[in-house]
Symmetry: D2
């Protein structure tokens, strides 16, 4: 039973390999009557697109989304939204050298173990190219959420050992896309950029941390028990290529705190229930409480290096994986729109799920 | 659309409130013909049971599971396994004082916001009492996995600021339940115990970290894209009460590493593909690669304190929440069997899902 | 992957065998705040209960439903409603004689073929006893629907070769339960009763037809493509034991009609869109149009006879199945509440699903 | 929550409107390693294609399927199979005259009632054009089933009042596609053809009945309780446009039979359990028993006529619907491959589901 669908009511199903004809997907459950800003959707895709700056892979993809259904006279019809993103720069020959090789920390070996047969070109289905489809669906989810007043932000908070230590409240999150590294703080952005450029020169790669923030989420979204809002966010984030960890609110820091420090005190202001601190990260018992939702996501360094590496092939023979191919020295900048998209998908789904909570 | 079901093929659906007649669940998809060790299931439940030691709540529950269906002549029949755990020590009067109060960092307010009406007794559905059902199902999943040779471990690695710094490879994980604090290292266990006892005396509570380890998981479990094995594990863990973070393999540490340090080199030994390091945490591209799967889960400190706290009630009036009620000063020891259970549920489901991967 | 759950938002998952400790289920997705009439639920169960009249099996079951969760102070809480119906008259010894026998037109053989092991007592999971759980959930669904003004009826329209030929519009459907055979027309009811009594004397059994009618269903329920309202009704009906066929609106008769006869002409009256005829059966394109929804369900004669029959056992040897055991000579009267329940489950689910159709 | 997905393990999700850019779908869960005969898939599509003969609509569509993913070097990879069928003959202007009209017995009104906004061109999502996607997926499912030896047949058994009375056992089902009306009996085929031509001349339309037969299905497919094999077949069939009824095995005829007539006697021959009669239609307790599975599906006459009809528009005003547009006078011939496809989808899904029945 495959896992190509995300979401219960607002859902996305994707298909497509890195070097096939096209990737694409089907968005189901978007309510009828939503006026879509198609340029905004393309803008989000452009933010994820390869080849945007020196910091990213030089693969050339225009990543123009084509909508095939579900939209009529500029509005959603309530029927499924089918869409395509053609693969242009397929250069399959690039990959013949790894046809039978298991690249270190890639999915080559596990696909072979699982399926006995695989599309080895560019990692096939395991390529992060698939995430372009998530950005399309997420951009629509964001437009649905915007009508509820909900705002979704994400930005790069750490690259390698370089960190942005200011709390998100001290940042102007609307400035995130003002630089190539997608950090709203200029000083940190320049440190991140330098770190990436240095790693690139060394033929090496870096990981990092993205922080996401959701503002103005109404209280009451999320479900008790298994589909807690943060559990679905965790799954969403960990489903993104290269993600190794997730924490929300106080996160791992909570392990060191005492209850008397950690509890968030309730008060009422302007007719609204609020909390004085927000270690809960805007979610209590799996349900949004109206405060900011915030969480952090750890990314590992990219596995494709510009250095030669030892490995084995399908026959189990020792081989050398040559340091070539086009890749990002650090995926964090391009991952920011993906994190936003997945966040929006989770929230849009729980928004619609909440519609039958009460009579 | 509620979220009381976990798993696609091997699935658990639970019901029940902290102070209702009973809690229980339905396990679907367990293959027919599995000889069940019912005593082992009860043993796992006993490990989660309240009132086991001075470190845990004094609520009295014998937590005897009653199986109602799906088992015949000692073996599973392939039909759903219905089960009950009666609530004995319901003491509903204990909770009249919080009937209209929103306890800090509990789910009282969000349930009210979501449903407009709630069973306030002991937190109702938001109580961790529901996790007893997960332990029942997880214990059956473990017995299914054992037939495949898969072993699931979990232990307390950190309590408050006290940490166990040895790598799991240096521990005898079979000793985890030899002490009340569920740590296989005697020295760390005594530090953890002391820390919990100290917090308890102060009327305060502690959080911590649990590490889980899965040994001998075959390569090929987990699905590409959304239902990556680690994404489902993350969701499973974050669905446990009080969990704030999840990381697998190198986790948040990966953010600081270079690709050349982080990549796991493949080699072949005794006809088996292995990796020299295991920063991947036994999962690549969302699919198990045959190495140990390991991950860490952060727990916040328990929200119920033996101290008075400020809060508001449903009317928005300032109230004082009195420091009483029965609770755990630290949930980590009792959470160990829950972590194991949820891990086993994810793995059993993906084991069965993998059965239709190939012709 | 098992099939013990019905419904997407308003859902029922059941467990239990004919001769286990209890049967029961979990109802998810019922909105919070519904005031439940528990006596009405028990009344529906009583209508399905064995031993009600000479026309039904003499198995003794009080079929008292016990609610375990999800209801607080008389209202639903939005959390899952767990319930039990204990099995009282288990008489397992009755079934030792069929332990290894495949009874004709029962599920004994197929369960053995599928699972390699089965609870043979009373048919185990294949027994229609499971449908009592559906009646409980259906009765709650009906109370939810009643708040929307929707009315669900079902009655016996045919027993063996005896038919009730009046159209449903000519009947007072509220009189259905005024007789043991569950037919609102007294004359037909007496023919049906006589037919059943005659078959019983002969040690034989009869089938028949039930008609269901839904009044005041709003336009707009049901989903395009696969989850058409009538497709979900068909599945619901065919999932009931002994059902062999389903037709809605004009049904099989439509095959013989011309388009010019069959099309339903629209008109507007009192601000409401209506159709002059209703061959569509209240559903067009899979979506309710506001007219009466009506459909017919064919039941085969009960497979358990009071006559000896030839068969084989697990070893493949010829055996004689003795004509004994307790059974219904005709299931139609007891199936009426089951048909209503399944109809209500489908409608309640589609009502809740429709809540996210539009902005 | 929309209903564009069919199947649990082997699943199809479709998108597309009659007059959009393209229709298409995503097939998930097809095991890796299946060598696909792409010409056979196109052949099945050609059998459903409009404009094949004088008996069908003159809409021109080449219906060339384009596979976009999930197939590599001629074999399935286990990843989702995305595919497109471009809409060529879109002639949207044809439909401006019905932009605000509710055509009798079409879905125009209910879509408006449900969504408040609709793609009125050619019926939009409610058009049977969507079923082309089912034929693609069904053709792949058939190739999977063929490896298990399972054969799926369907043929026209009735057109209007003309019937084929021979039992299917007396027919050579391989001859079904030897004529335009898709009936393996030449004499009946000529009667059917004459009836359709007569109705066409009258500007009228006809319904009919299709029978499907599955041979060599192994015992043990199908799930107890809700996902009975015949319940899923019923849903599959009723989800096809214009279908009004479904019966399997003895069907509605069972209502008139006695148990002593209807029971199928077991015997063993050549090491295989068989039944002497097959009123069960190859399914007992919802699970296949190894005998032929057969069922009948009733279709209503096409709602689009070449005659003027009275109706209303969105404003509620009386209008006349002109008898024009391209349509089929009888959908039965083109529905045969759709019925086969949906049958294959149900069986392929239950085949894969059965893989985890036992240890």
């Amino acid at each position: 039973m495959s896992g190509n669908r995300f979401g219960k009511i607002f859902s996305l199903t994707t298909f497509g390999e890195s070097h096939g004809t096209a990737i694409g997907g089907i968005i189901e459950g978007c309510p009828a009557g939503l006026v879509l800003d198609l340029e905004q959707i393309q803008l989000e895709l452009d933010r994820r697109r390869p080849g945007q700056s020196k910091l990213t892979t030089q693969r050339k993809e225009s990543d123009q989304v084509q909508f095939l259904s579900g939209i009529f006279e500029g509005k959603t019809t309530g029927t499924p939204i089918g869409f395509l993103i053609p693969n242009q720069d397929q250069k399959s020959k690039d990959y013949n050298h790894i046809k039978e090789t298991y690249r270190p920390s890639h999915a080559d070996y596990v696909y072979q173990a699982k399926y006995g047969h695989r599309d080895y070109r560019g990692g096939g289905r395991s390529s992060a190219r698939e995430t372009a489809c998530r950005v399309v669906a997420g951009a629509i989810a964001e437009q649905l959420l915007a009508k509820e007043g909900v705002e979704v932000y994400a930005f790069v908070q750490q690259v390698g050992k370089e960190q942005l230590k200011k709390p998100y409240q001290a940042l102007d999150l609307s400035q995130t896309f003002s630089n190539a590294v997608r950090c709203p703080d200029a000083e940190a952005a320049s440190r991140f950029t330098a770190a990436i450029e240095k790693a690139k020169k060394q033929g090496d790669t870096l990981g990092g941390v993205i922080q996401a923030v959701v503002r103005a989420c109404p209280a009451g979204w999320g479900e008790p028990v298994f589909d807690k809002l943060h559990a679905d966010l965790a799954k969403a984030m960990l489903s993104i290529n290269a993600v190794k960890g997730f924490e929300y609110g106080s996160g791992f820091q909570a392990a060191e705190m005492k209850g008397s420090e950690h509890n968030d005190e309730f008060y009422k202001e302007d007719g609204k229930v609020k909390t004085k601190s927000n270690f809960s990260g805007g979610i209590q018992g799996g349900i949004s409480n109206g405060e900011d939702i915030y969480f952090r996501i750890a990314f590992k360094p990219v596995a494709t290096l510009m250095r030669d590496q030892k490995s084995i092939n399908q026959a189990g023979e020792a081989v050398e994986v040559k340091g070539k191919g086009r890749h990002d020295p650090c995926v964090l900048p391009r991952a920011v729109p993906i994190v936003r998209a997945m966040t929006a998908l989770v929230l849009a789904d729980h928004f619609l799920r909440s519609k039958s909570n009460t009579l």
